[in-house]
Symmetry: D2
Subunit: 103 residues, 4 copies
């Protein structure tokens, strides 16, 4: 099974510059050993089960919670039973169809 989960999570009571908070969350993800990729709009992780993916969401909240009293998050998931390696695979499969793309 492959759970692709893209998310952003940030405090909304800290003004416009939230990158110190975002950095704490990315550090936690990197240290967790999960497959991930950081983009300009969020972080994409790939896990083998849904509980693992939801645990990352809980842990991200745990990183931000001590410093903030209001937190916003946006999450998308694409869950597929019979594939893995989709963090790279989905993009490569588009490239095979239409040629070189920015990734």
């Amino acid at each position: 099974m492959s759970v692709l989960l893209e998310f952003s999570m940030f405090p909304t009571d800290k003004g416009g510059s939230v990158s110190p908070y975002v950095s704490k969350v990315i550090k936690m993800i990197r240290d967790s050993g999960v497959s991930y990729k950081l983009t300009a709009m969020g972080t994409i992780i790939e896990t083998e089960t849904l509980p693992e993916a939801l645990r990352i969401i809980q842990n991200a909240y745990n990183e931000l919670e001590p410093d903030s009293s209001r937190i916003y998050s946006s999450i998308k998931m694409d869950i597929r039973k019979s594939q893995t390696g989709r963090l790279e695979g989905k993009v490569n499969s588009v490239e095979e169809k239409i040629g070189k793309i920015n990734k």
Copy 2:
């Protein structure tokens, strides 16, 4: 604490008409006793903790998983430490500011 979570979750391998699947998820939520509201674009729940809210996501997946091999979900959360009753409260507070609105 108040966790407002809005989500939609549906199989993407069943064609355009997914309302039987959506209905199973709504039934589970109604039976769970959590505060909820169904809208044309998803379901909004309010819980007192994040683990409770994430458990609803896991349970929604458990409802759909036996019938589908690919599932998509979109989720938003607004988590606030010092308020409750925001499922009604947030909308009413806008109404107090600008007068009668559709809700």
Copy 3:
């Protein structure tokens, strides 16, 4: 054709309490005459064409832009060619299947 669009849009440089800004956007939507419904997590509109729906997004930004230098938005769309009245219809169709629900 029926375009259902659910969105939230808020400044992220104004601290945790953004309801004055949200209220300006809702007022614009109400005055525009479009079919809409306010929820605890966003506003749902229904239009007959995609350009009409995207114009509401542009107008929402125009309301917030004078007061803010950073704005965040989350949007979902469900576009269907051969139906209308889905702002009420989708929820009612779930209710027909499983009985009384909160809406």
Copy 4:
């Protein structure tokens, strides 16, 4: 001004394998000359104005519309008045804070 827009858009009446449709949209974006990056969960574009960004959404719909009667889309925007180059810049700024990351 910098509009970062992340989106996914796909037909929901075509079964689980939508990559031919997604490929058409990516091809249109690449050919449009806009700054973009494809990820496993969507496409991120950066434009200098909001109308440009919304035009890409309209054009993506125009690509899919002839083949499908139901289309779903999920969109996030982060709009900032006084910066550009954020498609690379936001990720690099996290890397400066916490060291080497997957991007």
